[in-house]
Amino acid sequence: MTRRTRTAMFLGSAAVLGAFLLWGFSGLPSFGHGLISAGEMLNRVSVAQRHITDVVTAVNFDYRGIDTMGEEFIFFAAVVGVALIMRPQPGEGARHVEDYAFGRAVPPTSDAVRVLGLGLAAPTVLFALYVVAHGHLTPGGGFQGGVILATGVLLIYLAGEFDHLHGLYGEAAVERAEAAGAAAYVAIGFLALVSGSAFMTNVWPLGTTGHLVSAGSVPLINTAVGVEVGAGFVLLLNTFLRQALVIRPEPTRTPLEEALNRSRW
């Protein structure tokens, strides 16, 4: 299809589609006045039932825990997929990190960035741990905390060089951590089966509402998810950075030819 035909066809049908959607949405209860739903019922009962104060986390990890298990494995599959897609191909090798710009001295990272990055890295990791641990009390949880954890690693990269990240962790260890987190989620679900209840029942002691140790299995699941998501995002980061900075075609040309070739970028 030519560009013009395509755009014309699209504009016509998009107008119809937009009108159709609006027509359907107008059948919804007016904004702010929805009917009594499962969610509202949960607001009323879940604190007492599960000694948990963050109802969103309760829904995610307890009432609808199987949904979150699926979601966790979506993340897992994506990280594995990205690792597969970005692996070195035959004809490519991992060389040392270097900048693309040829014949230009790369300026070292500015002091401001280094100070900020290094200064913020540790508080970020601490904050991440806080968010994961308090997921059942205040907004937060495993996913959110895991992402913040990965951000701490990113800060270290920004402050320093890619090579510094390798001093921090081994790729294989991070992979195992991610897998362990994912497996732990399912294992916790199975444990409930062992005690005679349905899969993923919250069979752990519920504790006192509002305290750090409460809500049964939710903090445990939160931790597992936090580990998985944190490790997963670190892996993602690592994979993309490696692809950009480290993986190069194997040299088959003389250095001069290669230099001339690269100057075309």
Binding site: F10, F31, G34
Partner: protein, 114 residues
Amino acid sequence: MTFLPYAVAAWLFVIGLYGIVTSRDLVHQIICLSVVQSSTYVLLLAIGFRTGGAAPIFIDIPVGRAAVDPVVQALCLTDVVVGATVSALLLAIAVQIHKRTGSLDPERLRESFG
């Protein structure tokens, strides 16, 4: 005025599709997919909103106080994860395509296959 959030959701859906259809850059297309996705966020959260409702976190408010619907928020969280992961995969594919062809133009990509 109370229809505005739903109208925004419909608009985002359509304009994201427009971006995908008319795009000249793969990364731009992927971001437009995120725009389509954000229409689902707006729709979900708008459906869950209750006038005068607080956030469904009962650590500092008493149980029984009106709060917004937590289920749609949980659904949104799942949606965000799904979207982020698909974007990561798509961007990885885009990187490899750029490596092979030196360009990110979807038109160029199509022409090479006829």
